[in-house]
Amino acid sequence: MKKEMIAMILAGGQGTRLGKLTAHIAKPAVPFGGRYRIIDFAMSNCANSDIDNVGVITQYQPLSLNEHIGSGKAWGMEGRYGGATILQPYSSSKGTQFFAGTAHAIVQNIDYIDQLNPEYILILSGDHIYKMNYQKMLEFHKANNASLTVAVIPVPLEEASRFGIMNTDSDSRIIEFEEKPKEPKSNLASMGIYIFDWKKLRQLLLNDEQGEMEDFGKNVIPQYLINHENVFAYRFNGYWKDVGTIESLWEANMEFLEENHELNIRDREWRIFSNNINALPHFIGEHAKVKNAMISDGCIIEGNVNHSILSNNVTISEGATVNNSLIMGNVKIGKNVVIDYAIIGENAVISDNARVVGTQSNIAVIGYDEKIGGLN
């Protein structure tokens, strides 16, 4: 069966600015919002946009990411004609090569794409929080007879120099692209989401004997503009967050906690799927106080939780107080512990009476499996 469009998710990034949280796992695998991982948003957007072939390109510390994606079953992609496929660097007659850039990662996996032989290819990055219908973007791409469509989002002009900025004409045609411009001419930032006509891209990438086409932003988009290809900007106006730093990860989680948040996680028409674990319902004890909080399965709460997100199987003992924090899965919090403005990594243990207190501008981070307080 010929595929109209398949997706390739670039999930190899390390996310160095997330420090301890990405020391052993890739950024797309970082837990988010109580029971999700960052990549669930891109994966679920694919599932909800009826894209059932997704190649997930991994590289940096891929174990937990590969385990999480599996065959794509959690996203309903495990059918006769669909599936998620983990694509990792491999050695061939040309030697072993790690992916040098986003476009390079696609070239290396050309066999996978050829096997499906799609008309269009959707390139996504695995580390953004948003809900988007890629079919609508494809319709836009087709209507413009484009060979490349780049999704863009308006950002505040003073922040525009942090992004790849697209300068467009009144028909949304991209006439100029500037990577992190000092003096931005527009505020339309690239979201790292591209739809290419596969034949044309394939040709460009295979004709590139010097290996110059390493990166979409740096090399491929400028080359398309030089070649006078039809390159269009698809404007997205919804919630979109790059959770590249500890502060932005914390902030995105706290936004997620707002009752009428734009992401609307309880919307059953556009569900965010994740690997479901088998856990008990959460147990709230007689002395517990839970307010303004999101609580996942398997938690046992005897203490106070305010303005926080608790992932699966978190234990909070009597007298403990958790405020303004994200607690990842399987964390144990002892008696009378105080946690404020913090992110606590999976499997961490915070012993009785310990304090983990940050501030809004300096979030305290406890790494995965770390033990705080108590007798060592």
């Binding site: 479901n276 088998n278 319902p281 992932s311």
Partner: protein
């Protein structure tokens, strides 16, 4: 004995008048328990942990709710065996209505065929109205050591849990005797009937156990799960209890929420007061509503200022603003599936 040398036969045909309103469209085995489980999860988890590959479910009626929950059995790993899996036999009540001989002979035939094709040495037979986390590995060990024909399982209070382990030849022997003597009964009853002539070992199951015979049993077994000792005894002392996993957002509690001593599943939104209660998935409790000593099943909505006590709300019940639903500890009020309780309406026992 090999690890996989047992097949399991679960009889889901038990009935109860007092539970009628809850079990009109589902067997007792399909009743929700502890906010996210169903009673059938307990025997299914027990046999799955013991490496059982083939499970037969004998269902009284159409079994829609059971099929919907069990599907291929993938949650318990029954779909991953090269041989084996979940085998369902529904409409048993209809078959029996054709007359004992026709209906039950058909049943015996299905049973023998299932056991034969499982290629096992032992059969585990169980009803489905007992909530207990039985370690079948243990039962098997003890059964072999005892050298008896049959092992029956009791709880610490010497109650018969209606669970048996016996060899396949012994089961065939009993069935052929039953056909000859024209004794047409359910398989558990068959074993009880003939066990007088056999050597019987009694295995005592330690840990929390509930037998669901009526509405009050059902209500209080759920309430027992708010006692952390009993909760831990059932869920943490032996095998993990596995259920069908579902996708849902974490539950959300607003600034106004007050929740005490409760068990809450995913995808709930709580804006009001919840105390000593169990909430299944996708339950919403609006501001100033009071829910106390109550079981609320999936998808219910409790309007602003409503007050609910000693009640069971079946799936999809909509409670209007300011409505009052009041049962008593001795007389639990049941609100049936998808019922709509109007604004300020009162329902009392």
């Amino acid at each position: 004995m090999r690890k996989n040398d047992i097949c399991a036969v679960l009889s889901l045909t038990e009935q109860s008048d007092s539970l009628r309103a809850l079990t009109l469209k589902r067997p007792i085995a399909a009743l929700p328990f502890a906010s996210r489980f169903r009673i059938i999860d307990f025997p299914l988890s027990s046999v799955s942990e013991a490496g059982v590959k083939s499970v037969a479910l004998f269902i009284g009626k159409s079994g829609r709710s059971i099929y919907d929950h069990v599907r291929s059995g993938s949650s318990w790993g029954f779909d991953s065996h090269v041989n084996g899996g979940i085998f369902t036999f529904s409409q048993q009540f209809y078959k029996y209505s054709l007359g004992e001989e026709v209906g039950y002979e058909d049943f015996y035939e299905d049973l023998i065929e299932f056991v034969k094709r499982s290629h096992v040495g032992y059969v585990f037979i169980s009803g489905s109205k007992v909530i207990a986390n039985v370690n079948l590995e243990d039962v098997k060990q003890e059964h072999i050591e005892s050298g008896c024909d049959i092992t029956q399982i009791f709880d610490e209070g010497h109650r018969n849990l209606n669970k048996y382990l016996l060899s396949t030849p012994k089961l065939y022997e009993m069935i052929s005797l039953a056909v000859k003597e024209k004794l047409f009964v359910e398989v558990d009853e068959l074993i009880r009937h003939y066990s007088a002539k056999e050597t019987v070992n009694t295995y005592i199951h330690l840990g929390y156990t509930a037998i669901i015979n009526d509405l009050s049993d059902y209500f209080y077994a759920n309430m027992d799960m708010l006692d952390s000792q009993k909760f831990k005894s059932l869920f943490y002392a032996s095998n993990p209890v596995v259920t069908k996993t579902r996708n849902g957002a974490p539950s959300f509690f607003t600034d106004d929420a007050i929740v005490l001593n409760s068990l809450i599943a995913t995808d709930c939104v709580v804006r009001g007061h919840v105390e000593r209660s169990l909430l299944s998935r996708r339950v919403e409790v609006e501001k100033d509503a009071h829910v106390k000593n109550t079981i609320i099943l999936q998808g219910c909505h409790i309007g602003k200022g409503a007050s609910i006590e000693y009640a069971i709300l079946d799936k999809g019940v909509q409670v209007g603003k300011g409505a009052v639903i009041k049962g008593t500890p001795d007389n639990i009020l049941l609100i049936t599936k998808n019922d709509i309780i109007g604004e300020n309406e009162e329902r009392r026992v």
